[in-house]
């Protein structure tokens, strides 16, 4: 490899009593929100990723434009683990407000990098300190005084390049990618990085074991956020109307639509084949989605918990009037404002039954960015096939953080536009009844407004109606309608993505999870196995629950439903829907605003196993 690595080895010679820790550590960059650290952190992630080393970044940010503390953790893992780790060995202490606390959190043998003029009290003698003369690198005349704070974050990039052995060419490539080839700004940033790296090489004696080495574990992979993946999925699913209201952490999904739609879906004249409308609130957003879905568009919205609350009445209308529409709920901690920039799987129960009356919605549960893409298009097929709103429950961790993935696979089946009768169909059939269960799957046939046939029209309504969509308060009509909707729900069970199952021979314990809890459970099962406890695994990918879940639970003495909320919401749904197996179903639920860690899962399962 490069001379850099040799240099690093030579310098490490001074501390050869410490075994090197290669490609298996975490960095936490503690900065002030709005200081531009996001760019610096993304550069580090991308460079490490491009060195073939598995990496994952998690942004723990405040609900604030600028000034409050923010932490960005970068996990480097040769084994490919992407869950949050509870401690980071390398601290970038660039926020004086939190430096003391951040320093306390370092493990023994950790590293603290900080600006030399910061008033950092070296309260720990079991960590290595690397003070950096930040100001001297950002006072160059070509750097505008107002931009100095932003360039200051490039100082820690430069230091880490040298200290960890990150290939500087990969930093340059990452800067070029990030700034879309604007070489002026790339050079300015890269100049700071190399100047700092040079300074570190000459002035700091490395006294820690952490470094990176090139691997080939990320070959062919890409880095992407779940929200971007979801937007791409929607575009390949043929979205034509997106109505939304800004809300963290879902906004970037719509941003990605606005970025990619012009590139991917402009017509031959360069005009749009879509409409993205920023609504006045989430009620209007879902109203537009349902209006568009009713009229034949593939319509969607993206929101988070408070928006879901506002959508409640319309969600019920969509269910009873049987109108297609896709709603992404990128979950955060509720209720109301809750912890608006912190992650949780806290909307599962609420969304499943969203609306008043007897309602159970179809919910997709992507557990990776690849599934954000896949469910992004599959949701449209499902919503039009089932003629009911479909919710996609992602979350802040999956949606807003960068994840490694294999490139997305092109949809492997044509679009399913569902049961829509044309004028020709009506001429052949001599008419139709909107809610008649012709195929015994609970799904009627619909017509779109504009269909040129005297019998095409029907009146969509949330009020009680007959099979013919005519107003009715007759008990029989209501009861039959509910019975048919239940048949439709059972049809949905057979159409939604099936759980992914890994049966381990001889395992008496099974672990069930979903969504962004996946990486922590994956790692936790490895740790449990190393400690002699082998577990089977089932990852739910949708509601309603599907038959294989029953078989999985029945095949084990105990199953743990692992999720990121306090009440064990999915666990409750499983117990409710499979009451005869409820005694075997245990809950591992955790909610503190942070992504789940493997340790939390291991500890919780072991504690329950031992009692």
């Amino acid at each position: 490899m490069s001379t850099l690595e040799i240099d690093a080895e030579i310098r490490c010679g001074a501390v050869d009593d410490l075994p090197p820790v290669v490609n298996d550590f975490s960095i936490v960059a503690a900065t002030v929100n709005g200081s531009g650290s996001q760019t610096a952190n993304l550069m580090l992630i991308r460079a490490i990723f491009k060195m073939g080393i598995p990496v994952n970044g998690k942004n723990l940010f405040p609900s604030n434009i600028s000034g409050l503390p923010t932490w960005y953790t970068i996990r480097v893992s040769k084994d490919g683990y992407t869950a949050r780790r509870e401690s980071a060995e390398i601290l970038v202490a660039f926020n004086e407000q939190t430096a003391e606390e951040d320093l306390c959190a370092l493990p023994t043998g950790g590293v603290c990098i900080y600006p030399e003029d910061a008033k950092l009290q070296r309260t720990r003698d079991d960590v290595t300190y690397y003070p950096l003369p930040v100001k001297q690198f950002v006072s160059a005349p070509e750097i505008h005084p107002k931009m100095r704070d932003k360039f200051a974050t490039m100082v820690y990039v430069g230091a880490l390049v040298e200290l960890l052995g990150i290939d500087p060419e990969e930093i340059r490539a990452a800067l070029t990618h990030h700034f879309h080839g604007k070489m002026g700004v790339v050079d300015l940033n890269y100049g700071v990085v190399t100047a700092v790296a040079d300074w570190v090489r000459e002035n700091i004696v490395k006294d820690d074991p952490y470094r990176v080495e090139r691997m080939n574990r990320t070959d062919g992979m890409v880095l992407i956020e779940g929200n971007t993946a979801g937007a791409l999925g929607a575009i390949f699913g043929g979205v034509t109307v997106a109505a939304w209201y800004p809300i963290t952490p879902s906004t970037s999904l719509i941003d990605a639509l606005n970025e990619y739609l012009p590139k991917l879906r402009s017509d031959e004249d360069g005009g749009p084949t879509w409409a993205v409308i920023q609504a006045e609130d989430e009620m209007a957003a879902i109203g537009m989605v349902l209006g568009a879905g009713w009229a034949g568009a593939r319509a969607m919205s993206a929101t988070s918990g408070p928006g879901i609350s506002l959508m409640t009445e319309f969600a019920g209308l969509g269910y009873f009037a049987e109108v297609p529409g896709v709603i992404w709920d990128v979950m955060r901690i509720g209720p109301s404002t809750g912890l608006p920039t912190r992650v949780s799987q806290g909307d599962v129960l609420a969304v499943y039954v969203l609306g008043h009356g007897d309602i159970r919605h179809v919910c997709l549960l992507p557990g990776s960015v690849a599934e954000c893409f896949e469910f992004g298009y599959a949701a449209f097929d499902l919503t039009e096939r089932l003629q009911t709103p479909v919710f996609v429950l992602s979350d802040l961790d999956l949606g807003m953080n960068l994840w490694m993935t294999e490139p997305f696979a092109y949809p492997n089946r044509p679009m399913d536009r569902g049961k829509v009768l044309s004028a020709d169909d009506l001429r052949r059939l001599g008419g139709f009844k909107r809610f008649e269960d012709v195929d015994n799957d609970g799904i009627g046939y619909r017509t779109l407004p504009g269909t040129e046939h005297p019998l095409a029209a029907y009146f969509a309504r949330g009020t009680g109606h007959t099979e013919d969509a005519v107003y009715s308060e007759r008990p029989d009509d209501w009861e039959q309608n509910l019975a048919r909707l239940e048949r439709k729900h059972d049809t949905a069970r057979t159409l939604v993505p099936r759980p992914l199952v890994e049966m381990v021979e001889g395992a008496t314990v099974g672990v069930i999870t979903y969504g962004s809890a996946r990486p922590a459970v994956y790692e936790a099962r490895d740790q449990l196995a190393r400690q002699g406890m082998r577990t089977s695994y089932l990852r739910l990918r949708a509601l309603p629950l599907e038959q294989s879940l029953r078989e999985f639970i029945a095949a084990h003495e105990r199953v743990y439903v692992v999720e990121l909320n306090h009440d064990g919401q999915m666990c409750q749904i499983v117990r409710m829907e499979l009451p005869d197996l409820a005694a075997r179903v245990r809950s591992v639920a955790h909610c503190d605003g942070l992504p789940l860690s493997a340790r939390l899962v291991v500890d919780a399962i072991q504690e329950q196993e031992n009692t």
Partner: protein, 346 residues
């Protein structure tokens, strides 16, 4: 979805007869102004030879919002949630801008729970004939004041209204709506001509139609002229014993004022705009409405027209082919496009 029985009579240019524009039998109170408006909608659609399948009927919740079931069964309809029809109409017209959308709302649906969506619909200039069947009262919940009720008015259920009314035509003007008109449900001729104008308008056309409630807008302070005794009045609150009444019909000349007696004996004053009134001056229209509010008159006619603002589909640069009709090959980018996007991310 039964086929309407053909009645003998004249057919329009599409070869359709009046019966082809009918809806279900109304379940509103007999004599309700809303039914009169439904009649005029059917009549205008017939006269203009509008193809029923090209029309969508949109509504919210309330007596008014039930009425789309009572006209044009051959048109698709969507009875949405309370106050939120504008968003549903926005979505539907984005999906298919080739359709003619007729929205029916009420004063509660528009002026109270739906005021926000009303204003934002106007701001976007959604292509929609937006009819407000305005009776100043909540009928289905039996007689609460709406936001358009007169200050100082008294209702049996709600007592004295001490709050000033929201004038929805003023709200429309302030939102820069390019078609603002007011009429009276009983003035069939004027309603028809305003409907025709509204249908030809490209953006949101607001038509605020005073539509007397035969059952609940029963002013206690006008008992002297109230043709029913106190005993009878109380019975009016039981919707099942609403007496049959005739619709209030008026026909009067432009530039004149006509006093009209309501079912409860109260009187409203309608002032029809002069033929020489210039409806292209927004400030003049606002001044006129402000003055009319002070003198407790309803000014009727086309208050304001301005066709300069592009309707939403144009603003959104929608393609000629409605979004709902785009074929799969347009909607799904190619395999190569996905590969390129992935490469750029890599």
């Amino acid at each position: 979805m039964a086929v309407e029985a053909r009645t003998s009579g004249k057919a329009n240019r599409l070869g359709l007869e009046k019966a082809d524009y009918r809806g279900n039998v109304s379940t509103l109170c007999a004599g309700c102004g809303h039914d009169s408006i439904s009649s005029q909608i059917m009549s205008v659609a017939f006269e203009l030879s509008l193809a029923p399948h090209r029309i969508i009927k949109m509504s919210g919740i309330g007596c008014s919002s039930k009425s789309p079931a009572y006209f044009m069964n051959r048109s698709h309809g969507f009875n949405a949630v309370h106050g939120r029809m504008p968003s549903v109409a926005t979505g539907a017209t984005l999906a298919n801008h080739s359709l003619l959308a007729i929205g029916v709302s009420g004063d509660g649906d528009t002026g109270s729970i739906g005021l926000g969506q009303f204003k934002h619909m106007l701001r976007r200039n959604v292509p929609l004939v937006y009819i407000i069947e305005n009776n100043g009262v909540y009928g289905l919940t039996k007689g609460q004041f709406s936001a358009t009720a007169d200050q100082g008015q008294t209702l049996k259920y709600a007592g004295l209204n001490e709050l000033p009314p929201i004038d929805l035509c003023i709200e429309a003007l302030v939102a820069d709506c390019g078609f603002v008109a007011r009429s009276f449900a009983g003035d069939a001729k004027q309603v028809r001509s305003l409907l025709k104008a509204a249908i030809s308008y490209q953006g949101t056309a607001v038509l605020d139609i005073i539509s007397p409630c035969v059952t609940f807008n029963n002013h206690e302070d006008s008992t002297k002229s109230y043709p029913y005794g106190k005993q009878h009045e109380e019975q009016l609150h039981d919707i099942t014993v609403v007496p049959k009444r005739e619709e209030i019909m008026v026909d009067y000349e432009p530039g004149t004022v006509r006093e009209v007696a309501m079912h409860d004996g109260s009187v409203i004053q309608l002032r029809k705009l002069h033929e020489e009134y210039d409806p292209t001056n927004r400030m003049e229209a606002l001044r006129l409405l402000d003055g009319a509010q002070a003198s407790q008159e309803f000014v009727t006619g086309l208050l304001y027209i301005n066709e300069s603002r592009p309707p939403l589909p144009k603003l959104a640069r929608l393609p000629q082919t409605p979004l709902a009709h785009l074929p799969a090959e347009t909607l799904r980018p190619s395999r190569e496009a996905l590969e390129k996007a992935m490469t750029e991310l890599g």
